[in-house]
Amino acid sequence: MLAATPQNMELNRLAELQSKFFVGNPSPQGSLRLLTSRISAKRETLTSGPSLYLIVLTLQCDHTCRYCQVSRSLESANHSIDQTTLALACDSIFESPSKSITVEFQGGDPLLRFDLLKFAIERISERNVVEKRQLRFVVASTLHQLNEEICDFFRQHQVYLSTSIDGPKELHNKNRPLLTRDSYERTVNGIRMARDLISQDAVSALMTTTLDSLAIPEAIIDEYVHLGFREIFLRQLSAYGFASRNSTSLSYSLNEFSDFYERAFNHILQLNRQGIDFREIMASIFLNKILSPFDAGFVDLQSPTGAGLAALTYNYDGFVYPSDEARMLAEMGDTSFRLGKIGEKLNVLRSSEVQHHLVRASINHLIPGCDQCAYNSYCGPDPISAKNQLGDTFAPVHLTEHCKRNMWLFDFLFAKLGQQEDWFLNLAYHWANPSPARECCSA
């Protein structure tokens, strides 16, 4: 009936289906323009040029985390970017046509090379006096090396900090071992110092779910509330780096993770019911995809993939990678995702064979499985993780962790939305709007 004789449908239903573009009318000039403009608004992240630049300054880190992908000890040489290459990286950022750009410094721990960090931020800021882009700097760090001088510099250049807190002290210190066994205390001190000396909203935090986290979702959330955070990103352990090597002692099934996530999610809902404004980032990203006419700018879940198109990673090794994950794979020996050398023109990187391949492997209307998926307008395949997990960017999508996890979360959120509970719908739409702290930041 939908295809052949829509006019026989009950009028209210026909109107609703027309208004959602399932059914057309004989002369839809206006409606077609509307549909086009909606699609292009949702694709802005991909079409407006790279807006997220990751710069990996060094792999040095004072931690020896069990799940860490890449980091190297403090003494290790040759794991930092050289200044000439860094200068090239800084300059090439402005090749992007995007009006707003986030530059995120990654490690290792970039604060261990504050000299390089300072050099890069100053160089980019100086150039931006003329370029006038909306710039945002983010530094991902344990904050252990934070001091007054660094805070002062960050305040002047409006730098945001992204740190890791895995949960309560015992869990955090177990996941993130230091010889002194005080990683938690040192990071919390860093958070306090940043809030005092930079600004109240200077720090956001990420958590990584490990086997030990699974039993205590409520305690992890409460820890975040206690530390004054208003959001949490409940991240599944990624299968990269040391995490895959230590997988037997660290890993868990999707079912275990989803049980953990649901408990955490319900606990967060309960907090919100009590009037505490607290959001879960992964759900916010998905709800943005589902409920908002605007794209929050998250580079995952795009089709074609945002890797390389919306985000670029400049690695300490002198090469440009399409994503953080791709440089981690390179660390494990698979350098097949290198787009080119730092300093090569953006159009050269974008027309590289690797980039073409990534695009071909992530257009969900052409990928078997994705093409039939009800969620395909909110989602996109991740060829880089497919390669890591199954050895092939074109591996059957339904076998990838990426698809299984997303499918589960879409099901979970649609079930919640489907209950049409007024209070939850209000919250869901609230979360669907990008929170100012993380507008165009990746995970």
Binding site: N12, E16, S19, N25, G30, L34, P293, L425, Y429, N433
Partner: protein, 394 residues
């Protein structure tokens, strides 16, 4: 519009005038404007006579109260009840009909200038049914009003009929207002249909600043719903095209929904449509129906008691709030709305159109209420009017 019956002596110019006091004449006089000088005594009259004869001034008429016994044929004179006129009123004199029409009064809360009576839609509830005769003189009159306004209002509405039927002349009118009154927001009330044509749009919108605000009605989320209300096939597609054109020219848009039976029935779904597809509009106005014009003829579809539709109103406002689209209620007295929506109610009815019912005299919320259209007695009130007893902070 306020109309005063007047008597003329001599031949005052049958055009637009600014009402001023004699004492202000030397300061305000400009050769391209016309002035109606309000005289309060015979000595003032003699003084004015002198000024006119010395300066050979032709752009001045006098205005005297019916009680002032004065016959000076040398000055064209209008006699009327001058207490009904305010200084800086912009008026038109109509000798044939012996009337003076107040086109603009600064002390009014709302200002509107009618640009045409013609329209390409034929809405079920049209408060001002269109006519087809040539009324292009209204365009020149509107430009004259722009020139004669002395004290810039915060906002002025340009309405019709359908202003877009003026084509490029509409831009001339808009430019007259924006140039003369750079601090005034110009609200154009239009169905937006002709803006779906790129040539019309380019003529009107190219290099138009941010001073204009477009107020466009939308009555359904599917073509057949909207087209029925505006009684014009194809209107929905054109209006949607027009809205996207306005967006592409970065023009601010207010969407307007008149609350009659066919729109109330689909209101929640319509508002969800707006939230999903037209999130760039800066406001949605939900408007009580004005019981006049076609609304009277189509009474069965237009007469509603808003109290019967509270569920739809709440659902619709929830949909807009969730999409972060601001909303207001207009022409809806507080007693017609659920308490939770009072915060969105605006005192929207123009002063000269607004009355209160007997029941309102004891209402505790009267001071913040829109009141009723003066002509609701010939039609219907938007609900059964009821005094609100306790003051509730909205």
């Amino acid at each position: 519009m306020r109309r005063l019956s007047v008597t003329f002596q001599g031949t005052p110019l049958p055009t637009v005038h600014r009402v001023i006091l004699l004492s202000a004449l030397t300061d305000e006089w400009e050769p391209t404007l016309n002035f109606l000088v309000k005289l309060e005594s015979l000595s003032e009259a003699e003084h004015l006579e002198k000024l006119i004869s010395i300066g050979h001034l032709v752009n001045i008429s006098a205005c005297v109260s019916n009680s002032l016994d004065w016959h000076a044929a040398a000055i064209p004179t209008v006699s009327c009840d001058t207490t009904l006129l305010e200084l800086n009123d912009v008026v038109r004199l109509n000798a044939k009909k012996h009337e003076l029409i107040v086109l603009y009064r600064n002390s009014d809360m709302h200002h509107a200038i009618q640009l045409t009576n013609r329209c390409n839609s034929y809405c079920l509830m049209c408060s001002q049914p269109p006519t087809s005769h040539d009324d292009q003189w209204l365009v020149e009159e509107a430009i004259q009003v722009a020139l004669h306004i002395n004290d810039a209002p915060a906002a002025i509405g340009l309405s019709g009929g359908e202003p877009l039927l003026l084509g490029a002349k509409l831009r001339k009118v808009i430019d007259a207002f924006t140039l003369r009154l750079p601090m005034t927001r110009v609200d154009v009330l239009t169905n937006g249909r002709l803006l779906s044509y790129t040539t019309v749009a380019a003529e009107l919108l190219t290099d138009l600043g941010e001073q204009v605000n477009w107020m466009v009605p939308l009555y359904g989320h599917a073509d057949f719903l909207h087209d029925f209300v505006v009684q014009s096939p194809g209107a929905f597609e054109q209006t949607i095209g027009g809205l996207l054109t306005l967006q592409s020219y970065a023009q601010p848009v207010q969407l307007r929904i008149v609350l009659i039976e066919p729109t109330l029935r689909v209101l929640p779904e319509l508002c969800r449509f707006i939230g999903r597809n037209l999130p760039f509009v800066w406001e949605v106005a939900l408007m009580g129906c004005e019981p006049i014009g076609f609304a009277l003829a189509n009474r069965t579809t237009c007469e509603v008691d808003l109290k019967d539709w509270h569920r739809e109103l709440v659902d619709a406002t929830n949909a807009l709030r969730r999409a972060h689209v601001p909303l207001v209620f207009m022409n809806a007295p507080l007693c017609s709305l659920p308490n939770s929506l009072w915060q969105y109610a605006q005192q929207s009815i123009s002063d000269w159109k607004r009355v209160f019912a007997e029941e309102c005299s004891t209402c505790s919320m009267k001071v913040s209420c829109s009141g009723l259209f003066a002509w609701h007695n010939n039609g219907w009130p938007p609900t059964k009017i009821k005094a609100i007893e306790e003051e509730v902070c909205a």
